[in-house]
């Protein structure tokens, strides 16, 4: 039989009684929870406390970084040459595609000025690395190696080279948590690229599936349609690819069709992601109605979307409440 080693000294009569200490700390925890959840009053405190724990993240990620560095340093020559050839090929193709980009950007800017539209092109980006650290076993969150010190802000859009990855959910000093678009608590306002129908794509908790619950049975959507961000939430700028529709099921008995989509971003394979600073804040209703209250501390949540009658009106009505805080960190380009 194994028994615990014993500490025979009395524990009675030292300091306040156990119950009192428990009560005090419990009240403190509840206060902390309410303050953190309701108003984000503890953001600064959290920044510093997380900075203290940052070495743990570094230690856990270190073997992977080391491995990356080793494979990078000792890659053999043939592979490097091959990779180089591939990359220059890819670059050539991209250059050709970009030939007209400049003039198109200029044209776009002129047209938008004419329309007094607020969206701009030419957002600032920063590459961030996903740390090999578990944030939450059951939720789709990852930790990236850029934080408040890199001017990252809460609910900042995160992309990869294929599409929208998610948004910054919680900010620490040197790292931040990103909630993926596939998380069950995340909703992304999207529009069908082909015809501009607006709707909301919700995470399902599975990496390969988003669900579009607010498409009526009559709406014009097909398998293979590209969904791009609509920009209505004031978080994701308009026009970034989000997902492709993989399943449309209409039954005459139901008002809404069952629509599923597959995220374009490589949510499970990414090692590097892009943080995006939109160049002009979307002048959407979201940007104005922005009291930093409790609900929008968490990224675009499902709850505000209540019982819409058609998909377009649902988007319109839900957007003012469904938003994260706009950044104060509006950075010069």
């Amino acid at each position: 039989m194994v028994t615990l080693s014993s500490d025979t000294r009395p524990i009675i009569g030292r300091g306040p009684p156990l119950g009192a200490r428990f009560f005090f700390l419990a009240v403190l925890s509840i206060t902390v929870m309410v303050m953190d959840h309701r108003g984000g009053y503890l953001d600064t405190a959290r920044l510093w406390m997380s900075a203290v724990l940052h070495p743990l993240n570094v230690i856990v990620d270190a073997p992977h970084s080391l491995w990356d560095w080793l494979t990078g340093s000792f890659a053999d020559r043939a592979r490097l040459r091959e990779e180089n050839a591939e990359l220059s090929e890819a670059l050539r193709i991209a250059r050709t595609k970009l030939l007209q980009h400049e003039s198109l950007v200029e044209e776009n800017r002129r047209l938008r000025e004419l329309r007094k539209a607020s969206q701009g092109i030419g957002d600032r980006t920063l590459i961030a690395e996903i740390l090999h650290v578990t944030v939450d076993t059951f939720r789709h969150r990852v930790r990236i190696n850029k934080g408040a010190d890199d001017a990252v802000y809460e609910s900042q859009p995160v992309l990869d080279t294929f599409g929208v990855v998610g948004q910054v959910a919680r900010l620490d000093k040197f790292t931040s948590q990103v909630i993926l678009i596939s998380d069950a608590e995340h909703a992304t306002p999207v529009q069908v690229n082909r015809n501009g129908i607006r709707t909301i794509a919700m995470g399902t908790g599975s990496l390969a599936t988003l669900s579009l619950p607010f498409m009526t049975a009559e709406s014009d959507i097909r398998v293979g349609d590209l969904l791009v961000s609509s920009g209505l939430d004031g978080i994701f700028p308009a026009g970034y690819p989000v997902a492709t529709v993989t399943k449309v099921e209409r039954s005459s008995a139901d008002t809404f069709a069952t629509v599923e989509a597959k995220p374009l971003a490589q949510l499970d394979r990414d090692r590097e992601v892009l943080l995006l600073w939109p160049s002009t804040p979307a002048d959407s209703p979201a940007a104005q109605s922005n009291a930093p209250n409790a609900a929008d501390k968490a990224p675009a949540e499902k709850s505000p979307v209540n019982n819409p009658s058609t998909e377009s009106s649902s988007v319109e009505s839900s957007v003012p409440t469904q938003t994260g805080r706009r950044s104060d960190a509006e950075l010069p380009n």
Binding site: V2, L4, T31, M33, H37
Partner: protein, 160 residues
């Protein structure tokens, strides 16, 4: 055991740091949901074997660290850790003389209480994860308890 000496606190600190690392290191997907709550087991262990060193504040700080690294809000795991530590301290004198299977059963119940409290707070702040898999750590942690006690007791005896 030199529980209030410098060696004792050093030992506790190192074990807590290792447990925190274990809490965030990536495991294969298959066993990820069953990750044992090593830090909580350590808090119980140190509360039993070095109660003056590992008091309620210690447990609370451990919980706060978990919140910072992995929790949705601050204070959630802190209060759950606090409750477990409180009960452990309350029944400390009895738990220490329990036979190991009895002790494991008690720890199992503490773990279940802990998971329930975390689950409850999850439900208050947003849609909670209702998958049955979130209860797996209760079982794996309880199974780990006798092993942990054996290892740590051996280490502590040798160092004494």
């Amino acid at each position: 055991m030199v529980s209030d000496g410098r060696i004792g606190s050093l030992r506790v600190t190192i074990s807590v740091a290792l447990a925190l690392i274990f809490a965030i290191v990536q495991l294969p997907d298959a066993i990820e949901p069953a990750r044992p709550e090593l830090l909580l087991l350590l808090v119980i262990y140190w509360s039993l074997s070095a109660p003056r060193l590992a008091g309620l504040t210690f447990a609370w700080l451990c919980g706060l660290a978990v919140d910072l690294l992995a929790g949705p809000i601050l204070g959630q795991h802190a209060i759950a850790f606090l409750l477990v530590a409180f009960l452990t301290h309350k029944f400390q004198l009895r738990m220490r003389i329990f036979p190991i299977w009895h002790q494991t059963l008690t720890v199992f119940m503490l773990l279940a209480l802990y998971e329930f409290l975390v689950f409850w707070i999850d439900g208050i702040i947003g849609p909670a994860i209702t998958s049955w898999m979130r209860w797996l750590p209760v079982f794996t942690s309880a199974l780990l308890w006798p092993v942990l006690v054996a290892v740590l007791d051996t280490l502590n005896r040798r160092r004494r």
